[in-house]
Subunit: 255 residues, 2 copies
């Protein structure tokens, strides 16, 4: 299954959720591909310290040079593979922003890759901007996970996504399966529970029961180039992400 991790609101845990869902699947023996579609390449930087120096070795090359995605795979021990991002991805909107064919580029590239490489799970990390790159992710995905941080401005972002997806349905030619996941949930704050209630009221069963707790280990792990399970396997964050993966895969969402 291909899952896009998208929310145009910034800092809600997209990269963190991409990383830890990928790791959860890998720990259960799945072959996982992570695709970094963010010009800021945060997921790529967690894989290794200096981000890919050559844009030719990143997903940008798929867009600019039609380089096959099989040539862009990097091994990610404990996770599977990653196709890294690069700062030059910022040019994709202005270089290719006009034609409709561009929206299918990632999808086409993944189809070609899947003829020779099996991945039970492909997770795509998106940047906080609804441009050509994120639209590529939505067009390539079987389902969408929308992390929503437990605060009001993030809730507002979630409401915007629902409208965006409705507007895209004629073009996507399907109703993209989606799950909203509350992240950075602080049980000491009334606000966290209010946001959860408002999210449920808006999106009903599309809201995961699992919430990801605010847990400093989750924020520390990236600085050690680790996912939450290998960094702090007994932490609240690790338990929550394991529970989230379990909930996603045992629901109608998973294909």
């Amino acid at each position: 299954m291909r899952i896009a991790i998208f929310n145009q609101k910034g800092g809600v845990g997209k990269t963190t959720t991409t990383l830890n869902i990928a790791a959860a699947a890998a720990r259960l023996g799945q072959q996982v591909l992570a695709v970094d579609l963010d010009p800021q390449a945060h997921l790529t930087s967690i894989h290794r310290e200096d981000t890919i120096s050559e844009s030719r070795d990143s997903i940008f090359s798929h867009y600019r040079d039609n380089r096959p995605m099989s040539e862009l795979l990097l091994e990610w021990p404990g996770i599977g593979s990653i196709i890294p991002a690069h700062a030059e991805l910022i040019k994709v909107d202005s270089l290719f922003g006009k034609g409709p064919a561009i929206l299918n580029k990632l999808n086409a590239g993944l189809h070609a890759l899947e003829r020779t490489h099996v991945h039970q799970l492909t997770v795509i990390d998106c940047c906080p901007f609804l441009g050509v790159l994120s639209l590529n992710a939505l067009f390539a995905a079987d389902g969408l996970v929308v992390p929503v941080a437990s605060d009001f401005l993030s809730l507002r972002g979630a409401q915007q996504i629902d409208r965006t997806l409705k507007a895209l349905e004629p073009v996507l030619k399907q109703r993209l399966a989606r799950r909203y996941v509350l992240t950075r949930f602080d049980r000491r704050r009334k606000m966290s529970f209010e946001i959860h209630a408002m999210l449920r009221e808006a999106f009903g069963d599309d809201v995961c029961s699992t919430v990801i707790s605010e847990n400093v280990a989750v924020a520390e792990a990236p600085s050690h180039h680790r996912d939450i399970f290998s960094y702090a396997g007994q932490s609240r964050g690790a338990q929550d992400y394991a529970e989230l993966f379990d909930e996603l895969t045992s629901s109608a969402f998973y294909q």
Copy 2:
């Protein structure tokens, strides 16, 4: 003085900082203009519940129709004025992404506005994407405030900005004054102090001494359409933002 609040990293407190710096200045009697340059219009939504329904009444109209900014001003009690954003701003990159003249559009608009309207402070809220809109803010600004959330992925974002600004210097024809402000600082976390030390090591005196504490009141205020001072004037967040404004205005940064 015109200050752009920019960081391409998402969710670091740009909108929150724009709002509360504007309010801090207004409380000291300054005439303040807030410009919302984010297609997601979060600052605009704090001003009032439903964002501007007509893009014609937003800053997008300045780009698309050359509408004078004086016609776009909305009163914001307790703050001054706001020029609102609109979802259609997302089109600016693809509509105007090519020519160099577009980068000066906001600057030119503000110059025209300033012939008839006095604002001691203009604060510009940016979206988490270094496209035409954010570049407009950088070109229009006398100085830049970079909120940096107290975690590793946000620190990485701050390091990218420094490189971006260096690359822009030939085009900007000046070294844009900048201040980095640590936000969402949690004193119980070792990580917060580590990030502060690393930020200081990288940017020295460009790093504010004031840090904005993680304080739930700061996150609740937007849901009541309030800045931190009017929502919770005795809170830690209010004290920190007052202190931040004081530090910025009594330093070489302020023009």
